[in-house]
């Protein structure tokens, strides 16, 4: 038992991989067995995450549950793990969404075994990003997550999946190139990849490097990191991969993609960009803020114009993640002030909240699609009469996404605005206008699906939401309302880290 607690992060990180190996040995034809095994295995990390939450030390500075394992000593890189208040909620998000994604996949018929294995591997990849305290390990897990998602889109996706998956992987990998080069550079210059040591050594550098002034080198490295994360978040104009990828991915894939993967980018900003490059972040915060605002506004407009329900939700992700980045930019510009703390608190909380809400939205789109095989908003309509439970859940979730007070979205957005407004007043104001449009498209979507005349095409084919599908939504909804009413559920943890770092 002691060993489990001492190595809890290792267990959480690699249990999904172990699960994948177990699945590999099971016969591919027994779908029920595979699904329940996968579900069971993916619940264990969740349990351990809860243990960590309960044992979390709110007053300690720095990282907790730390562990260090030998990996590649020859180049001074090791598997160093640890969480703080910023990453633990992310871990919770990941370990929560994965079982739900498995639960959502009970209707997959083709190649179920490979599908589930990929999800589990994806979980390890995402978790690795959040818990790594070694720069190289971070990069490894960052890239490792790409391949399962590529195949999930490519093999189980919609009609345009080849294009979407290729675009996804090429975009992200190209974006990561700069990250790769900068990681190499930092490793070489600092002589280690340990996050804590790198922050100290890298910030202490003041001599010219390769004959170039250190400020220039740092600026280039900053942009290298920033662009890689910007592609992932995504920030306008690096967002063009997202609508296709989200739309073509299978339902559970979109859940993880929007719920977890986008957060990797934002997390990268918080964990690496701001601590490594404080001056450059402050210097370029304005640019980032502008791009974020564009993402908010244009994302909203984009969502409003969609006829495809799933694509609409995809654009909504751009819209919401824009808020996250706006907050980060504000935190960068105003480092050390309470505004920065507010902004970061809000942005992390929004990351969690959006993760939950977006996953829920995508799932709900999937529920409809499974029955009607269309996502065309013009063909849907009037479902309220036939599927009242579904309708209720849909409204609830979209309100959470929208930021209705009492639900999780509101608290996070409030914190972000309160933190950013003093720093980027104009932009925040524009962003709030964007929020208006958020409401518009959300309501439009609800109207198109639930209200209006019932399209007789679906008469007799439409069942209400099933028990299993409800089981997927219930945990999400609990979080949405729980965080809305009592944000301290997570805010305390988040703030425990934020107050020290920012």
């Amino acid at each position: 038992m002691n060993w489990l607690i001492d190595n809890i992060l290792l267990v959480v990180l690699f249990l999904p991989t172990l699960g994948a190996l177990i699945l590999l040995c099971l016969p591919g034809s027994k779908s029920r067995l595979l699904l329940w095994t996968a579900l069971g295995i993916s619940l264990i990390p969740l349990a351990f995450t809860v243990v960590m939450l309960l044992r979390f030390n709110y007053s300690a500075e720095g990282y907790q549950f730390m562990a260090d394992y030998q990996w590649y000593a020859a180049i001074q890189s090791s598997l160093k793990l640890g969480v703080d208040g910023i990453s633990l909620p992310m871990v919770l998000l990941t370990t929560l969404l994965t079982p739900l994604a498995v639960l959502a996949s009970f209707k997959i018929s083709q190649n179920l075994k490979a599908y589930l294995i990929l999800f589990l591997l994806l979980e390890t990849g995402s978790l690795g990003v959040f818990v790594s305290l070694d720069l190289l390990m971070f990069f490894v897990f960052w890239e490792v997550g790409l391949v399962p998602m590529y195949f999930l889109i490519n093999q189980w996706g919609g009609e345009n999946r080849n294009y979407a998956s290729l675009k996804f992987i090429l975009f992200t990998m190209t974006g990561s190139l700069g990250l790769l080069l900068a990681t190499q550079l930092i490793g070489v210059v600092s002589g280690t990849y340990d996050l804590v040591q790198v922050v100290a050594k890298w910030n202490a550098l003041d001599q010219p490097l390769f004959g170039i002034p250190i400020a220039t080198v740092k600026t280039i490295a900053f942009w290298a990191f920033a662009i890689a994360f910007a592609v992932k978040v995504p920030i306008w104009p690096f967002h063009t991969w997202l609508p296709d990828a989200h739309t073509e991915a299978p339902t559970a894939g979109s859940m993880i993609l929007a719920g977890v993967l986008l957060k990797l980018g934002a997390y990268g900003f918080l964990r690496f960009v701001l601590p490594f490059f404080p001056e450059q972040s402050a210097h370029f915060a304005g640019a980032l803020a502008i791009l974020a605002t564009l993402a908010i506004v244009l994302g909203a407009f984009g969502a409003y114009g969609q006829k495809d329900f799933k694509r609409l939700v995809a654009y909504s992700s751009i819209n919401h993640m824009g808020m996250v980045v706006l907050a980060i930019a504000a935190a960068a510009a105003a480092a050390g002030t309470p505004d920065a703390a507010s902004a970061v608190n809000g942005s992390v909380l929004l990351m969690f909240s959006h993760g939950v809400a977006a996953a829920g939205m995508f799932f709900l789109v999937g529920v409809i699609y499974d029955q009607t095989h269309t996502r065309d908003l013009t063909r849907l309509g009037g479902f309220w009469q036939k599927t009242p439970v579904y309708g209720g859940i849909l409204i609830f979730t979209s309100m959470a996404a929208l930021g209705l007070p009492g639900l999780s979205g509101f608290v996070s957005e409030f914190l972000i605005v309160s933190g950013s407004l003093p720093v980027f007043t104009v932009l925040t104001a524009v962003a709030m206008l964007g929020l208006l449009f958020t409401g518009l498209y959300t309501l439009k979507a609800i109207r198109d699906v639930l209200h209006g005349p019932f399209n007789v095409e679906w008469a007799g084919h439409l069942n209400d939401i099933s028990k299993r599908e409800t089981a997927v939504m219930v945990p999400l909804m609990l979080f949405m309302i729980g965080l809305g009413i009592w944000p301290r559920l997570l805010l305390d943890i988040i703030n425990a880290a934020v107050k020290h770092i920012f």
Partner: protein, 494 residues
């Protein structure tokens, strides 16, 4: 396990397959099964012993291990001397892996199996011999023994359209490279003035700097031609495409490594000052290899040509690592030699499996092969991910230190080389998509069977090695470090 150190294990490892090779030739003409099984025994034996050598290797002791010596021509200081250090032990292991894999995937050769299986053993022994040689004369002896199996195997069992042209081009080019290196080495050995061809003794001699600067290019570039250094890489695509599957595996998998290995052992180690002088040029050429090779792979329409050019590109990484002349670069180069060797063997094996069944390698004609041979598709994907440098696989843990080393030596080269990584991703993904996914054009390809179980074993085995090395680089990195530390001492001490 010190009793193992007392056995002349390397000599046995080389002699037994050699005897088997000769024995196979003595079988009656027309024997079909005996050559296969004998070759399997010989190759398996080499694999087994090379595994022992690799895993028993003591990482903490510097210098050479498993050394056997025998006086050959004392009057001129020529001796038979074998031994391995941290860089050559993994290479010997690699030879065992690739040779065994090559024999298994060629199991069904129908035309003159006796000659085929005999020659392939000769080729394997030659390569393993070079890696184990601690005497310059002996190194060349083993190196050139490979000439006739290389050539004959290509012209006798290769791709009919290109076999004569490809075989002659490959053999002559490689011979040219080794001959240039020979001229350089003879000059160096005679200038060393100790009347000995023993590498361990030659390492202790400090040669005049002018001599080093003059002869280093002969030795290094001569050997690097065997590794496909730009602009002397043209033999590789044609030669590898023309060769039968197992020969491509061996040539790209280990023979190319022989070249760069000799370039390191006889070039850099014997002439460190010369190496430092010429390193910038090598860095430029190696970077061109990486980027241009990848670009050439991108525009190919023939499945096998893509892999051929991909080898040229990846060998550029090895050479870049060597030319950086620092700890990280050398480590990465050593890792890359092993990783690329296994990866390219896997690639060519699967290409062969596809071609044997569909009789085409045209990307536009192929498609949907993952439905017909799912495990082969998976293996190709694994190899592809290695090639792309995806973390979690051996390519990443090899290329990353090379980049680190390049940053220290020539930062611009690191930035340029990363373009190669992108292009690699593009052509790999395109190839996978074109060949393995999509619709299966049944009207063009007809009936296609899955691969037999023995091929599956090879695919799984090679894939496991690639994944294991990617996840646990420390399985092999400390061994390589033992070898590179002595090189670094030479470079630093100057």
């Amino acid at each position: 396990m010190t009793w193992i150190n007392d056995l002349p294990i390397l000599t046995i490892m080389l002699a037994v397959p050699l005897l088997f090779a000769v024995a196979i030739l003595c079988l009656p003409a027309g024997s079909k099964n005996a050559p296969r099984w004998l070759a399997l025994a010989g190759g398996g034996f080499l694999f087994l012993l090379s595994t022992i050598v690799f895993f028993v290797f003591d990482k903490s002791t510097p210098g050479y291990q498993f050394v056997d010596t025998f006086n050959w021509l004392p009057a001129l200081g020529i001796s038979y001397r074998v031994g391995v250090d941290g860089i050559s032990a993994p290479m010997v292991f690699l030879t065992g892996i690739v040779l065994l894999s090559g024999i298994v995937v060629s199991w069904k050769i129908e035309d003159r199996p006796r000659e085929f299986f005999s020659y392939i053993l000769f080729l394997g022994v030659s390569v393993a011999g070079v890696f184990s040689s601690l005497d310059v004369f002996q190194l060349f002896f083993f190196l050139e023994i490979a000439v006739f199996p290389k050539y004959l195997m290509i012209v006798m069992w290769g791709w009919p359209q290109k076999k004569e042209y490809g075989g002659m081009k490959l053999t002559l080019y490689l011979f040219l490279g080794s001959m240039l290196a020979l001229a350089g080495i003879l000059a160096v050995v005679s200038k060393a003035g100790i009347n000995s061809f023993d590498i361990t003794q030659l390492l202790g001699v400090k040669l005049d700097v002018g001599v080093q600067k003059l002869w280093f290019p002969f030795v290094f570039i001569g050997f690097a031609i065997l590794g496909g250094l730009f602009p002397f890489y043209n033999w590789a695509p044609d030669g590898h495409v023309a060769a039968p599957t197992a020969v491509s595996m061996l040539l790209a998998g280990v023979e190319m490594k022989v070249g760069v290995f000799a370039a390191l052992r006889l070039g850099i180690r014997l002439m460190p000052e010369g190496a430092k002088f010429w390193a910038p040029l090598i860095i430029v050429l190696a970077t061109i290899n990486i980027v241009y090779g990848a670009f050439l792979a991108l525009v190919q329409k023939d499945f096998k040509y893509i892999i051929g050019f991909s080898s040229v590109s990846h060998m550029g990484f090895v050479l870049l690592g060597f030319a950086s002349l620092n700890a990280d670069g050398l480590l990465g180069a050593g890792m890359q030699m092993f990783s690329h060797g296994v990866m390219t063997a896997l690639f060519f094996a699967i290409v062969g499996m596809v071609y044997d069944r569909t009789h085409t390698r045209d990307l536009e004609q192929l498609g949907g092969m993952s439905r017909k041979m799912p495990l082969a598709a998976l293996g190709f994907i694994v190899a592809g991910l290695v090639s792309m440098g995806m973390p979690g696989f051996s390519g990443f843990v090899s290329e990353f230190p090379i980049f680190m080393g390049t940053w220290q030596a020539a930062p611009v080269a690191a930035i340029v080389a990363v373009i190669g990584v992108v292009i690699t991703a593009a052509y790999i993904l395109r190839t996978i998509g074109n060949v393995f996914f999509g619709a299966f054009p049944a009207e063009k390809l007809g009936e296609v069977s899955d691969i037999p179980w023995r091929d599956k074993v090879i695919v799984i085995g090679l894939s496991i090695i690639l994944i294991a090395m990617g996840i646990f680089p420390s399985l092999i990195a400390p061994v390589i470090e033992q070898g590179t530390s002595s090189v670094l001492a030479l470079l630093g001490g100057m």
